[in-house]
Symmetry: C2
Subunit: 126 residues, 2 copies
DNA sequence: CCGAATCCACAACGATACTG
DNA sequence: CAGTATCGTTGTGGATTCGG
């Protein structure tokens, strides 16, 4: 099954190790800010301050934190231009672009079911 | 573009309303536990206690909270069997199954880049 | 068995200030 | 401009309990 290595139980030692790593990665990546950053980064290259403006509502701190995490996991590449004032640019790596494909799917899903969801909420909130 | 309604700026009033709703939905759904619940729910039907066992590490409270949220947004259907002891079953709705497709993509991505990520982490942590 | 409510520890987060 | 550090607050989330 597609989700085998995200499931809880497994007999083989190697698989349980892969499982726990997969869960760890999933926990890192599957959060609002990380997904939004990847989405807005898109195909292009953005400076820190540009990202800050694009991803509305994110704080300086959250942006740096998530960028470090994404860099550590090899999803974004960080390029420092040794100018003054400094200029730091971020771009998606190959794996980052690959993940972005699935995030696009989530965005498309959101748009597609916007009406359904709004209606369902109204029904529920009574 | 695919993510138009998740981006920050928009001139049209209707679109900004749709935007903020989309962002709200995205914030609801794009979290670790919600995605894992949807993934494990899969095509089948699971009881509360079964879900609790499947989704390793989730607390009673987080499970109920996320299930309520998903029910409110119309992604899962909640069926209460009036027996004693009570039996409550959860299944994905059509929109839930649709979203699950994209989550499968994320899981596949995790498996595919497991090695890349592990290596990148080691490089970074020095 | 399921769910709601309470309490509270601790992490997340924002604001601020300071460096290169 | 970009990043780190600190601090104070908020709020998430676990443990527990009670009720249906």
């Amino acid at each position: 099954m597609a989700t085998k290595r995200l499931r809880a139980s497994s007999e083989e030692a190697d698989l349980t190790r892969a499982d726990s790593l997969a869960r760890e990665i999933f926990s890192d990546v599957a959060n609002k800010w990380a997904l939004l950053i990847i989405e807005f980064l898109g195909e292009g290259t953005l400076r820190f301050s540009e990202l800050r403006n694009e991803v509305e509502g994110i704080s300086h701190k959250m942006l740096t934190q998530n960028l470090r995490m994404l860099e550590r996991n090899g999803l974004v590449e960080r390029n420092v231009h040794p100018t003054v004032p400094p200029r730091v640019e971020y771009t998606l790596t190959e794996s980052g672009r690959a993940l972005r494909g699935t995030i696009d799917g989530m965005c498309a899903w959101t748009r597609q079911y916007l009406g359904h969801i709004e209606a369902s909420r109204r029904r529920f909130d009574t």
